[in-house]
């Protein structure tokens, strides 16, 4: 744990020379913090989920544009173009970046899950604090043979810690690892 921490510190402390890695390169963050990346196929899951969310919105924006702009003599087509450009960007470009920001490490009696870049959260849950574990699989995840692991703690904050993008056999193996450590300390 101590080696990756020092690397991370060096990278962002202002008074030390910057580490040679490009902080914006995919998987640079995870490597620097000693985390394992999630399965790259998860980016397809994110992409499909984003598409299912954004395409209806873009269609709605187009229809609104078509209905409203001619009446008020506005610039017809501007909103439609912007909406579809944004949707295209979010569907094609962003999922791979977002997925590369997810990282996890299991071992030393604890599960570590990190996510995000602009707002990065790095969560550690000791196995002994886990109340129960779910392994879930949505229809899109099933297409790619992926599952997500959900760890429940009794804390009000972080009562659920979700780790998506795991190959199904790996998720099951992680569940077994954690289950062996769970103790019921409810007396």
């Amino acid at each position: 744990m101590s080696v990756p921490r020092d690397l991370f510190k060096d990278q962002f402390m202002t008074d030390t020379p910057p580490a040679p890695t490009d902080p914006f390169a995919p998987d640079a963050l995870n490597a620097a913090e000693g985390l394992d990346p999630v399965d790259p196929a998860y980016s397809h899951v994110v992409r499909i989920a984003t598409a299912l969310n954004l395409i209806p919105l873009a269609i709605g924006a187009s229809v609104a544009d078509w209905l409203v702009m001619p009446r008020i003599d506005g610039p017809y087509g501007l909103v439609t173009t912007a909406a579809w450009l944004f949707a295209l960007l979010a569907i094609v470009m962003l999922p791979a970046r977002r997925v590369s920001r997810w990282g996890y490490k299991i071992g030393e009696g604890q599960l570590r899950v990190a996510r995000g870049w602009l707002f990065r959260t790095d969560t550690i849950v000791p196995f002994v604090r886990v109340q129960h574990i779910d392994v879930g699989q949505g229809p899109v995840e099933r297409l790619f043979g992926l599952s997500h692991l959900v760890v429940h703690t009794s804390g009000t904050h972080n009562s659920m810690v979700t780790l998506p993008g795991l190959r199904s056999d790996l998720a099951a193996a992680m569940r077994e690892t954690i289950r062996r450590h769970i103790q019921t300390d409810f007396a």
Binding site: M1, R5, F8, K9, F12, M13, T14, G109, Q110, L118, F119, R120, T121, D122, T123, I124, V125, P126, V128, R129, T153, S154, G155, T156, H157, N158, S159, V161, D185, F186, A187
Partner: protein
């Protein structure tokens, strides 16, 4: 009631019991507010000229409601077995619920005004399952039956675990014969507490009500509109006097405001905390309080997750503080944390903290500070207010001055308050302090921490800072415990130390 008492001690021959018959009377009382729904029907009858039908209609309504309450009462039964409570309820859809004593974390007893007159009480079972709908209750049974039931469940819970917990529960050896009084509030203390509880909230409620009912009131007069007062004064030739003595008039207004503020503060304090008693039972802290609605709540010592000492900038000068304990169960519907010392000296709070094995850092404690960047949010807000004010002035609206004057003040206060974000790692607990206007100190034992978040974002990262957020059972989901903006390396060290403490357990 007599049958309930007769059955409770004899658990071997457990048999089905019903709620106290007086519950039906309570149901009738509860009908009062609900019969408002009936008003439109009465009005309709009146408008159509069918006056003769009004009384029979009301009677029929009451009869149906009473019959429904009777039916519910008849279909509700419970049984207290050797190690579980079984509750059957429901008229059309039946519900059968089994609650093992092992899963009952605490039994609460609550009495409203009518319940006290009838000698009955509502019994709630805290099962620790999230959400209100999961908590079962008996509404209502005789008070002595309720207390007997609680004793039964507590006795069961302490019996098998006591042997194991003696070693762990160092501060209080298990066999404590007498319940010790830890803290009580007399009328004098309540009065002082009420004075510090100064609040104009009641005034705001009345004011909002006046605004709301303005159109409905038969007279055209708003207490909070000075012009109305001037009109009244003019009617009596007082306007000349008021204009001549406006200082006296202003003083009178200020004094009446102060009076309302103090009176409502004292009233809320007295109603909530009359006869406050905090006692130490073998396994729990027990609190009874309330003037009209008396509550009797026990906080099991082993379930206490964190202690929170709150005060105000003024009451701190006089040495008054409030102690709350964060437990797995929540304290009623509004309050999440259990208020165990509403208003007391630190000297009175420390022994209570001792009972839950938490030690308050002394005055010599060295504190570490959060980075001043925590004031960034309010400062951005203040900047926005300044810009908004400037635009308003540019457009010729004098209100803009308000933004321009208030913004630097807000920014200054935020910067000043940022100095009060402090923390210290004291052996087996973390102490977190924040706030200048309402100073708050959270004492969080390492062993209570279930998970730790280390957060950075695009603002904190260039400064090499991180925020630690702790997952702790109980409390409000809105106010999580966190140490904002501390150096990344320090945060990582603290995180490892706290998690290591959890693993040792």
């Amino acid at each position: 009631m007599s049958e309930a008492v007769a059955v409770s001690p004899d658990l071997g021959g457990a048999q089905w019991q019903r709620l106290h018959p007086a519950t039906l009377a309570l149901a009738l009382v509860k009908l009062g507010p609900r019969s408002l729904q009936f008003l439109p029907a009465v009005a309709a009858l009146g408008f159509t000229g069918n006056w003769v039908w009004i009384v029979p209609a009301i009677l029929a309504y009451l009869l149906i409601a009473l019959a429904a309450a009777c039916l519910q009462w008849m279909r509700f039964r419970f049984i207290v077995g050797d190690d579980e409570v079984v509750i059957e309820s429901g008229v059309l859809s039946r519900q059968h619920r089994t609650i093992p004593f092992d899963r009952i974390q605490d039994v609460s007893i609550e009495q409203g005004l009518v319940s006290r007159a009838l000698g009955i009480a509502k019994v709630g079972f805290e099962t620790g399952a999230g959400g209100k709908e999961n908590d079962a209750h008996l509404d209502a049974i005789g008070l002595d039956a309720a207390q007997a039931l609680r004793t039964t469940i507590r006795a069961h819970r302490s019996a098998p675990v006591a042997a194991a917990s003696v070693a762990a529960e160092a501060p209080a050896p298990a066999p404590v014969a007498e319940d010790r009084l830890l803290f009580a509030m007399g009328p004098r203390r309540l009065l002082v507490a009420g004075l510090f509880n100064f609040s104009l909230a009641a005034l705001a409620v009345v004011g909002a009500g006046m605004q709301f009912f303005d159109d409905l009131l038969p007279f055209d007069f708003n207490v909070f509109d000075p012009r109305d007062w001037i009109d009244v004064a003019a009617d009596y030739g007082l306007d000349q006097w008021v204009l001549a003595h406006r200082w006296i008039a202003g003083l009178g207004a200020a004094i009446s405001l102060l009076f309302i503020g103090f009176a409502s503060g004292i009233a809320t304090m007295v109603f909530a905390n009359w006869g406050f008693r905090l006692t130490r039972e073998p396994r729990a802290l027990r609190r009874t309080r309330g003037l009209t609605t008396r509550t009797d709540v026990a906080v099991p010592v082993k379930r206490v997750q964190a202690a929170i000492v709150v005060t105000g900038w003024l009451r701190k000068r006089f040495g008054w503080h409030e102690l709350r304990l964060q437990s797995l169960a929540s304290d009623g519907e509004k309050e999440k944390d259990h208020q165990v010392v509403p208003f007391g000296r630190l000297g009175e709070i420390d022994p209570v903290l001792g009972e839950v094995a938490i030690r308050r850092p002394d005055d010599a404690q060295a504190w570490q500070h959060s980075h001043r960047i925590v004031a960034l949010g309010p400062i951005i807000g203040a900047t926005a207010a300044t810009i908004g004010g400037g635009i308003a002035l540019y457009l010729g609206n004098d209100v803009g001055w308000l933004g321009i004057v208030a913004a630097p003040l807000v920014a200054l206060i935020a910067l000043w308050a940022a100095r009060y974000h402090r923390w210290a790692d004291v052996g087996d607990l973390v102490a977190i302090r924040r706030g200048w206007w309402k100073p708050k100190m959270t004492l969080l034992p390492h062993a209570s921490v279930q998970s730790v978040d280390l957060k950075t974002d695009f603002i904190l990262r260039p400064f090499g800072l991180a925020t630690l957020v702790f997952g702790v059972p109980g409390g409000s989901s809105l106010a999580s415990h966190e140490i904002p903006a501390i150096p990344l390396g320090v945060a990582q060290d603290l995180r490892s130390r706290i998690l290591a403490a959890g693993l040792r357990q």
